[in-house]
């Protein structure tokens, strides 16, 4: 029944993955809270339009624009940066899983995980 038993490396990897997920959510939540407070203080009295779809401005759609805006303490960009960090959390998890499989010399699952990572990276960085 040896195939059922989880190796020590596999268990260690599960621990690391669990911690990274929690840290990612915590960090992104903090950034979103800071951005949200700033947003409410500066723009709390404005009348937002979300009933008709216009799409976000370019500065809030591209990674470069979001980082630039957040560095300038733009409230909307800061919230958006927090959300990007949140979207990145599962991507980091997939990368760590890949590293874990590589440490176990599990070529099949390194390949499987690499496909998932490729799809995710294309999703966030692609052009279509």
């Amino acid at each position: 029944m040896n195939r059922f038993v989880k190796g020590e490396e596999e268990l260690a990897m599960e621990q690391v993955v669990g911690r990274v997920l929690q840290a990612g959510v915590a960090i992104s939540a903090i950034v979103v809270v800071v951005g949200a407070l700033l947003l409410l203080v500066r723009h709390g009295g404005t009348l937002p339009n979300f009933r008709t779809f216009a799409g976000e401005p370019d500065a809030l759609r591209s990674l470069a624009g979001i980082v630039r805006g957040a560095a300038a303490f733009d409230a909307y960009a800061l919230v958006q940066l927090g959300l990007v960090l949140l979207i990145a959390t599962p991507i980091v998890r997939v990368f760590l899983t890949l590293v874990g499989f590589a440490m176990q010399r599990d070529r099949l699952y390194v390949a499987v995980t690499a496909i998932v990572l490729g799809v995710l990276l294309w999703s966030i960085m692609g052009t279509s």
Partner: protein
């Protein structure tokens, strides 16, 4: 409505959705989109973007605990993530060709299906000692903790599970939901994993699936910070409280309440689909 008032109201409603979603195990994302569209008149595309982000937050938080407790089958999760992420990407790319009315209709049907499923009893399958050749080659068989110690189990029907997961990915992207119900069907019914392993592995995959479509939606301008932040913080707060209360409250009655909410939402969404208006 000012930004401040909108944020406070949406945060409160999202908190309740996250709390009920985590206590019942059905997830808050399911009712966030109808609440935003029907309750606040938010365009369904902004609602889907906000919901996806909140799903990543709650599933990552919960998955962390389950992975460390050893319930999650990481190999099964990663393998099926190929299907869900490709499905999610496909769903996100075709979504702009689907009218908001059709989306509302699909949403209504999905909500009804979820309500119906939540009343189905689930039984764990009798242990099948013989391995499925595909599952054995992919080394999917594993163990999970039970009160009597680590219990081995075998995995079956990998191609069927993989196909259903592709559909779950499309659904997740189109509607901005976790589609946990469909994911659990694929693993529990088709692949015959133990129920607890199915639900935790589903949770493990939901964040990755949502990230695949959220990336596309971010670039397309569907993720609006004003809409997304109260939803994300509210749902996350509610889900965290729910996880703490889970040992105190009995989920059966709550499940009934939540299912009633889901049915009401589904009628609202179907009505929107039929009339095309608000």
């Amino acid at each position: 409505m000012t930004t401040l008032l909108f944020a406070v109201l949406v945060a409160v409603v999202s908190f309740a959705a996250g709390l009920l979603g985590s206590l019942t195990g059905l997830g808050g994302g399911l009712i966030v989109v109808p609440l935003l569209t029907v309750g606040f008149g938010v365009d369904i595309r902004y609602a889907i973007g906000a919901s996806l982000v909140s799903i990543i937050a709650t599933s990552s938080g919960a998955a962390a605990a389950f992975v460390r407790e050893g319930f999650t089958n990481v190999r099964v999760g990663v393998l099926l993530e190929v299907a869900t992420t490709v499905g999610a990407l496909a769903g996100a790319l075709v979504s702009s060709y689907i009218s908001p009315r059709a989306l509302a209709g699909l949403f209504g049907v999905t909500l009804l299906f979820t309500a119906w499923r939540s009343f189905q009893q689930h039984h764990d399958h009798p242990p099948a000692p013989e391995s499925d050749p595909v599952a054995a080659r992919l080394r999917l068989d594993s163990t999970y903790p039970t009160p009597t110690g680590m219990q081995p189990y075998t995995v079956h029907n990998v191609p069927a599970g993989f196909s259903i997961m592709f559909g779950a990915g499309i659904l997740s992207a189109l509607l901005g939901i976790g589609a946990g119900v469909v994911k659990v069907i694929a693993m529990d019914q088709a692949m015959r994993l133990p129920f607890k392993v199915s639900t935790t592995t589903s949770n493990f995959m939901i964040g990755v699936t949502a990230a695949a479509s959220a990336g596309v939606y971010l670039r397309r301008g569907y993720i609006d910070p004003t809409v997304a932040f109260p939803v994300m913080l509210g749902v996350l707060g509610g889900a965290l409280l729910g996880a703490r209360l889970l040992t105190v409250v009995h989920p059966r009655k709550l499940r009934l309440v939540f299912t009633a909410v889901v049915v009401v939402m589904s009628i609202q969404m179907l009505y929107r689909a039929a009339t095309g208006g608000a």
